[in-house]
Chain length 261, copies 2
């Protein structure tokens, strides 16, 4: 946090919205342990004056920190820093490659198969395709520093699949390649449960058939709401866990009885 002699705080004006810059600055101040032992933040009005912005902008910034579980907020009292802060960008969440690199691991992958075939009923529904549409189905083994970690099955609509089929073999990151070609990922729905390894899983991951895997199913859409992929990732136990923060204000996680696949 940059302080000048007037006790106002300046933020880098060259990138993005003001409230994001303020949020970023506050995030740093929080994680670097400012705000002392009590962890009480200044009042919104004080922050507004300090940053030279309106209270509304400060509130937008604080809403971001709130969503990340960094601070509390309730009427009547100052905001308080929460422990257990966790930070991860959207792209790290969706892209195995980004995620691995952010941990300092070397991501790898091997495309086992990529086929074009008619979509079945479930695929048509998930990807909102018309009857008779084709899909591309990719099966990939993912590795961290050479060790098998995850098997991913991704179903693409034709528009996206055609790009994936042209994907050069040396490109590691699916996601980035697609983004560069105009396929945008903006929203994702995830479902997490446990499943038994099938023959393919066992062969690729080097585990026994029937042994448990952590499964993440994900449907990703672009800004218009059009599905761009439907994926099913199966992780070896002990390699990965998923974390969620939620609060009374905004809850994104849900628990539900398991239905059919």
């Amino acid at each position: 946090m940059a302080q000048d002699s007037e006790h106002t705080t300046t933020v880098d004006r060259t990138s993005g919205a003001l409230y994001r810059q303020v949020a970023s600055d506050l995030r740093e101040a929080i994680t670097s342990g400012s705000f002392g032992e009590s962890g009480r933040l200044p009042a919104e009005g004080a922050l507004a004056e300090q940053y030279g912005v309106s209270r509304g902008t400060i509130r937008q910034a604080l809403a971001l920190l709130r969503a990340d579980g960094l601070v509390t907020s309730r009427r009547g009292t100052r905001r308080v820093v929460l422990g257990g802060a966790r930070v991860q960008s959207f792209s790290e969440l969706l892209s195995f490659t980004h995620w691995a690199r952010s941990m300092g691991e070397e991501p790898g992958g091997r495309l086992e198969s990529l086929v074009r075939r008619p979509a079945d009923a479930a695929e048509r529904e998930q990807l909102r395709l018309a009857p008779g549409s084709d899909v591309y189905v990719a099966l990939r083994l993912r590795t961290l520093s050479g060790n098998p970690v995850m098997v991913e099955r991704i179903v693409y609509p034709p528009r996206v699949g055609e790009l994936v089929a042209q994907l050069p073999p040396d490109v590691v990151s699916h996601t980035e390649f697609l983004r560069e070609h105009g396929i945008l990922f903006t929203d994702a729905d995830h479902t997490i449960d446990v499943v038994a390894a099938n023959a393919d899983d066992a062969r690729l991951l080097g585990c026994r058939r029937g042994s448990p895997l952590l499964r993440e199913r994900r449907r990703t859409t672009d800004p218009t709401g059009t599905p761009v992929e439907w994926s099913q990732d199966r992780y070896l136990p002990g390699t990965v866990a998923f974390s969620v923060h939620n609060s009374l204000a905004a809850s994104a996680l849900s628990r539900h009885a398991r239905e059919g696949d």
Copy 2:
């Protein structure tokens, strides 16, 4: 959605914030299939006029729907209804009892043990307790319509544990009981992974030792940021799954390499 002859929409003024009422009304309009095939919502300005509120209030309402993954939003175009809508309240998420009832199942539980003992290092850190503090540890079997579904181990700080120890045996919902006694749950961090059943798990759930369970670890805090419980729930596979929605705008889910327990 209630319409009068002036084409304005009225909402119930008797409960809660205006923007929540608008959000609730829009949520209903969306799920009941208004907005036609295209799924395009009216412009913010039009909604503001329709509801007789300012655009800011409409934006607050839409932010809620956005967080739930019900609608998209981007500059330049109307908002669009997303498929795959999922709704669950915070209390349903934290309380096994509420969750079960919302599905039409009959929740049950059996307290296996409740002990007070000195906290170990991990417990002190999770609950932010001073050295030498005690904790209460509850072990419970949870059932749906009589069938074992989940084993929960909850560690409480003394203040909360003393209440739990007084909990009448006929009270089904932990969470509600605590809320009525002034213990508020407002923020929660969840971690989801797979673990092998130990001897206790196997005995209570009726599965084999070493068989896989879906584990949810959760730390819940009150509005001041003080931890009020640290729980570890283990579900039989096939009984439950966890869902998360996230978007470029606000992401609460994270994936991380598994660390020590």
